[in-house]
């Protein structure tokens, strides 16, 4: 055995190359309790490893053509032994990887590990974040269902707004004039070859930088990063007090990664795979496409932005966001590192996290989307029509039949694009209601003008019904009294 190892070593020279990498000294603090902050990067890599393995497994069976992709997914779910588990694992581990990468980045941001001399660690890290999100988006397209189909359509429609180049970008994105096999093949190539290639390349660079610039020491309040002296002091500390990388610090990484794997495997086994959902057939109408959760915040931001600002947000926001992230280490690359001495950083993390959480929640519930089946599926609540006159009952029927309910809820049930009308009778007078229904929101807002779509008899019934929508004992709205002279 020893002779074999010696024979190999004589040819590979690992003792001179890999040996020093494994045993290089790292700050003592990383081996202590603060070391738990340092396990997030390796856990992201562990999840990446699961993604590579499960992805290769899925590629053995998945068919990346528009006519059979959906079938092969159903086959994976129900026929291929453990196919459901591999699909589930790939989805949940991918989701966890997005989370882990974001948490890792937040930790680095809070501890200012991006400061001198680790600016490039941050820059490669930002690229890795975007490659990870790129994998999430292209992966969603490979789940070739209605969400995938229309998701690509929304993406292409956004690209189509780029001034001048739009139509060409759409064709390049779709691989032709339509969303079809050429589109799926291209997203397959992106998901399986192009983005993973970039991701692994930049991950190698990221690790190289961690190795060459050394792991940043846990921040201590009052200990200032000064580019003139930092390197010298860092090396001095390592010489005096460093611990080998391949040792106690790595044990924490190993334990945390193992726990992560166990949690993800159990989650995948319990929660099961995502989709495929509705068939990717564009002629089946009534689809309500929704991106996967990593993009809910963006979905909400776009849906809630005023139409006038939309093109600007679609085209400029990504540039601004990426630019801001890339600039972080250049805006601040010296000074304090401890979060307790950097209130602006802590505040930005709180604000950004809150904004993304609120937008994600809005994206999950999508109150801006009409509920297409509410008019026929959700009955008018009985309590609202118990005392109704025959005319008001006819009006309630008009309300349902004209799809008002798709955008207007009654007692919280129905669409939420327009206001809930359960108490509209105390807010608007008969004349105001007729005006609102006939002419819609002035200036082309949210409410369409029903003037031509509704007969006079229907209108009087509808308005009578709406006026009757009041809490018991409350009087209907009336025009403001004109002040007596």
């Amino acid at each position: 055995m020893k002779r074999i190892l010696a024979w190999l070593e004589a040819r590979l020279s690992l003792r001179d190359t890999v040996g020093p990498m494994l045993m290089h000294p790292i700050p003592r603090g990383v081996a202590g309790p603060m070391g738990w902050w340092y396990v997030l990067g390796s856990a992201s890599m562990t999840l990446l490893l699961i993604q590579v393995l499960s992805g290769i497994g899925l590629a053995l069976v998945y068919v990346p053509t528009a006519d059979h992709a959906y079938e092969s997914l159903v086959y994976l779910n129900y026929q291929q032994p453990l196919g459901w588990f591999l699909r589930s694992l790939h989805y949940w581990s991918g989701s966890a990887m997005v989370c882990m990468v974001v948490v890792h980045m937040t930790q680095v941001f809070l501890h200012a590990a991006f400061k001198y001399p680790r600016e490039l660690n941050w820059l490669t890290g930002v690229l890795l974040l975007f490659f990870t999100l790129g994998m999430a988006f292209t992966g969603q397209v490979l789940r070739w269902d209605a969400d995938a189909y229309w998701g690509v359509g929304v993406g292409a429609s956004m690209a189509g707004r780029v001034p001048g180049l739009g139509p060409y970008l759409v064709d390049l994105l779709l691989g032709g004039p339509l969303i079809g096999s050429d589109t799926l093949s291209r997203f397959f190539a992106l998901h399986v070859f192009i983005i993973p290639g970039l991701l692994l390349t930049f991950l190698a660079a990221h690790l190289w930088l961690v190795l060459k610039r050394g792991i940043s020491e846990p921040p201590v309040p009052g200990k200032i990063v000064d580019p003139r002296t930092y390197q010298e002091e860092y090396e001095k500390e390592l010489k005096k007090d460093g611990v080998p990388f391949f040792g106690e610090a790595l044990l924490k990484d190993a334990l945390f990664s193992s726990l992560t794997v166990v949690v993800i495997v159990v989650l995948a086994a319990i929660a099961g795979p995502k989709g495929p959902g509705a068939l990717p057939e564009p002629a089946l109408l009534g689809a309500n496409p929704k991106p996967d959760w990593p993009f809910w915040w963006l979905f909400a931001l776009l849906s809630l932005s005023p139409p006038g600002a939309e093109t600007f947000i679609i085209l400029a926001l990504p540039v601004v966001l990426i630019g801001a992230l890339l600039l972080v280490p250049f805006v601040s690359n010296r000074g304090e590192r401890a979060p307790s001495r950097r209130p602006v950083t802590v505040l930005s993390v709180i604000v950004i996290a809150t904004v993304i959480a609120v937008l994600t929640y809005q994206g999950a519930t999508e109150p801006w989307s009409p509920v297409m089946g509410a008019w026929s599926g959700d009955a008018v609540p009985e309590s609202l029509i118990q005392a109704s006159t025959p005319l008001q009952l006819q009006g309630a029927l008009v309300f349902q039949n004209k799809q008002c309910r798709n955008c207007h809820a009654l007692q919280g049930i129905g669409g939420r694009r327009g206001p809930d009308l359960t108490r509209v009778g105390i807010r608007l007078t008969r004349d105001q209601l007729i005006d609102q229904v006939s002419n819609g929101t002035p200036g082309g807002g949210n409410m369409p003008a029903y003037g031509k779509q509704i007969k006079p008899a229907e209108m009087s019934g509808l308005v009578d019904f709406l006026v009757s929508l009041r809490p018991p004992g409350q009087k209907p709205a009336r025009p403001a009294a004109i002040a007596q002279p």
Partner: protein
């Protein structure tokens, strides 16, 4: 360097002209190699932009479409690949205005391309994504769209209503004008 240079002259010193020439020849050959590889590859990638032949899809005789009603009509889009399967199954809305005049709408919302649904009771098209609404003539009624529904180019030939097979319509590449199809 100093001790070796004094004993054996370096190649550059023996024949600087030849050395420089070979150096530049190597650069030039490298550039040519990169170009002959890159040009066809770029051409291949830009193949997605090639113009497509206009193809007409038969939707049936005009009498199939009741007067002043909006009908959802489906067909396999010939602009796609034979292996597109159900993704090629496209729909349009056809409205017969009488006297051989028609309105043919793509089902894609003019906002971000989601499929609109026709509600005959209220005479409106509703988009499920962000609530774009259109009137029966395709004009924008409310919501985020900046224009009306995209209209397909149609004709009546040999007693059949035909439309130009629609590509994915976007704001700068609509269906009204047969642009780049």
């Amino acid at each position: 360097m100093s001790h070796s240079a004094s004993q054996t002259p370096s190649p550059a010193q023996t024949n600087p002209g030849r050395r420089t020439f070979l150096q530049w020849l190597t650069y030039a050959t490298g550039a040519v190699a990169a170009a002959v590889l890159a040009v066809p590859f770029a051409g291949y990638l830009l193949g997605a932009l090639r113009k497509h032949r206009v193809q007409w899809v038969k939707l049936g005789p005009p009498s199939n479409f009741p007067l002043n009603e909006t009908i959802a009509e489906t067909f396999d889009n010939p602009l796609g690949q034979p292996w597109d399967g159900m993704a090629a199954r496209t729909g349009v809305y056809v409205r017969n205005l009488g006297e051989d005049r028609f309105l043919v709408f793509a089902m894609n919302c003019a906002h971000l391309g989601c499929p609109v649904t026709w509600f005959p009771q209220s005479g409106l098209f509703l988009c499920p994504c962000h609530g774009g609404v259109y009137y029966e003539n395709g004009q924008r009624a409310s919501g985020p769209p900046t224009r009306g529904l995209f209209q397909c180019v149609w004709r009546i030939r040999n007693g059949q209503l035909e439309i130009q097979a629609p590509h994915l319509p976007t704001l700068q590449n609509t269906l009204d004008r047969p642009v780049r199809v």
